[in-house]
Symmetry: C2
Subunit: 139 residues, 2 copies
């Protein structure tokens, strides 16, 4: 639990109850979660709007990163400490969307292969979503 306080401190964020709860959530759970899902879990602890604002603050400070999943839903997951910093994310790994349990996980160990684009196209950022059946759901 030390780490939660330290991280919020390091990010220059005040250590409020909801922020501590949410950051602990991200530390404990790998799958990327959406605001509506968080709202169900944390309705008693914070207003919907506060959740949106905490997510934005966490993202700006490099604590979590935003993923757009295959359905177009915005989801958030903990940043890899070595890759993400203030406002600058390196999120260039595969995001796996399970069609069975609907979880979206970062496969940090699977990087996005390079792609040869036509002349005059300049790539800056990549997003590779793969849909299928995940580790937990395979029979």
């Amino acid at each position: 639990m030390e780490s939660v306080i330290e991280k919020l401190d390091a990010a220059g964020l005040r250590k409020t109850e909801i922020r501590i709860r949410l950051y602990e959530y991200f530390l404990k759970h790998k799958p990327a979660i959406s605001q509506p899902e968080l709202e169900k879990k944390y309705a008693k602890y914070a207003d919907r709007v506060t959740l949106y604002r905490v997510l934005s603050a966490f993202e700006e400070k490099g604590l979590i990163h935003k993923i757009i999943d295959m359905h177009g839903t915005a989801r958030y997951a903990l940043c890899n400490e070595h890759n993400c910093h203030d406002g600058h994310h390196h999120d260039e790994h595969v995001h796996f969307n399970c069609s069975n349990c609907d979880k979206v996980v970062c496969l940090e160990e699977v990087s996005i292969p390079s792609v040869k684009l036509p002349k005059n196209y300049k790539a800056v950022k990549y997003s590779l979503n793969i849909e299928g059946v995940c580790n937990d759901c395979k029979a």
Copy 2:
């Protein structure tokens, strides 16, 4: 103009004014377009709800396919005739999102490279969005 009528016929869709207009739009424009954008262009010709329904019908019949762009917005573009049929889309090419002009185009000639997933993950569908500067916007 022949081709528009024929395609709608072949898809088993009635040839209404708005459907003809929209299908002609897709034939003439490569970039994928969203419903809100179409609404601005076609406000005089059809209701918002009709646009949603025409897009769904076109997608079901394999005339257009849906793309989720890097911002999570649903966009639609013409299907490649050889790859898409009734309810069955093969959309496994790169989608390029230009951060300058905000256009999203299908790079049909750039296929998604294969990715080696960890044991127990089974891939079914891929979506690769690349953000950067497009052909038209490079200085």
